[in-house]
């Protein structure tokens, strides 16, 4: 079976690289970056199937990154990461085309389930 290809974007470096390693251990091709700008460059060079994107980041924020992804690559599925109490951002993200949003801290199995759902692999 083809490996799922995921780009993780979060300004917390330890978080994003550790999560990428955990996903790789589960057979998922995951790359972590810590800036919105870096994410946009990375997906032009090597587009993933799913982007897991933090909403609150310095520089280009998550919702702006989402807007640009959906403008150029509408086929890429985006799952947003928000804090509890920030559901408004999650809802706004879904209005802008995100597949769904999850709360931090994450449950890794829930994240994988959500990514599979986004790619229609849940059946």
């Amino acid at each position: 079976m083809k490996r799922m290809k995921v780009l993780l974007v979060d300004d917390e470096e330890e978080f994003v690289h550790t999560l990428a390693e955990r996903l790789q251990l589960r057979g998922i091709d995951a790359l972590g970056v810590t800036k919105g700008e870096e994410a946009l460059e990375s997906l032009e060079a090597d587009p993933p199937e799913v982007v897991v994107l933090d909403v609150l980041m310095p520089g280009i924020g998550g919702l702006e990154v989402l807007r640009r992804i959906k403008g150029r690559h509408p086929e890429i599925q985006v799952i947003l990461l928000t804090g509890r109490g920030s559901e408004k951002d999650g809802m706004e993200g879904m209005r802008l085309g995100a597949f769904d949003y999850l709360m931090k801290p994450l449950n890794i199995e829930e994240l994988i389930k959500k990514m599979r759902e986004a790619l229609g692999q849940d059946r």
């Binding site: 330890e14 804090g83 509890r84 931090k104």
Partner: protein, 219 residues
């Protein structure tokens, strides 16, 4: 305190809870990675594997405890966002009780919320309504002995013009009850007026306490 000052406090507290959750997220992923390496990686023959897995399990449990605490604190902080808003009282009471659990535990008292099956949406001051409920519970904790429980039961008043919240203490030693006047809750007058909140003393064989009447209000 003025609305602007309350909103500022809320904003700072909410920001800190977000940062706190980022810290917990890193701890969760780091301990999760160690667990993965011991279970799905190459380290199955690691000599202290079982001990490590047990300790990692404890870390994960405590991370979850921290997440729950931060979530309730975050909700509390966001209650200060708006001086007047539509709130669902079953939910508000649930979060408020979590924040008071520590004080109740010290007095060996159980806090129990009996949620109403209906949605109890009122337009009110989300922060001050929490404060009024907390002060009523605090006064019941302070004026009676250890043990027993405090049961919080919200419901619509007949006619649906207000929500009634009964806060009743039972099971503490009888000599320490002594009857509690409604003003013993210590809710400041301007809060009562601002919320158009009424507090009545409740004294029946099942236990002492208060009934709060919160008008449905308008948006």
């Amino acid at each position: 305190m003025k609305d602007q000052e309350i909103a500022y406090m809320g904003r700072v507290t909410a920001g800190m809870t977000h940062e706190f959750k980022n810290v917990l997220a890193i701890i969760r992923e780091s301990s999760g990675l160690l667990e993965d390496l011991l279970t799905i990686g190459q380290a199955r023959s690691f000599p202290q594997r079982e001990k490590f897995l047990k300790v990692l399990g404890t870390i994960q449990e405590q991370v979850q405890r921290g997440v729950d605490l931060a979530t309730h604190l975050n909700r509390f902080a966001h209650s200060m966002d708006e001086p007047w808003a539509a709130v669902e009282l079953n939910e508000v009471l649930g979060h408020t009780l979590h924040l008071l659990e520590r004080f109740a535990r010290i007095k060996k008292v159980q806090l129990r919320l009996v949620r109403d099956s209906e949605e109890l949406i009122v337009n009110t001051d989300p922060f001050r309504v929490r404060m009024a409920v907390s002060l009523c519970i605090d006064s019941l904790l302070e004026t009676s002995g250890e043990g027993g429980e405090i049961v919080i039961r919200p419901r619509w008043e007949e006619g649906g013009e207000a929500v009634l919240i009964s806060i009743q203490r039972s099971g503490a030693s009888a000599e320490t009850w002594g009857g509690i006047p409604a003003d013993a809750a210590g809710v400041p007058g301007h809060v009562l007026e601002g919320l158009r909140l009424q507090i009545h003393a409740l004294d029946d064989p099942a236990g002492v306490g208060f009934v709060l009447r919160i008008p449905r209000g308008h948006g």
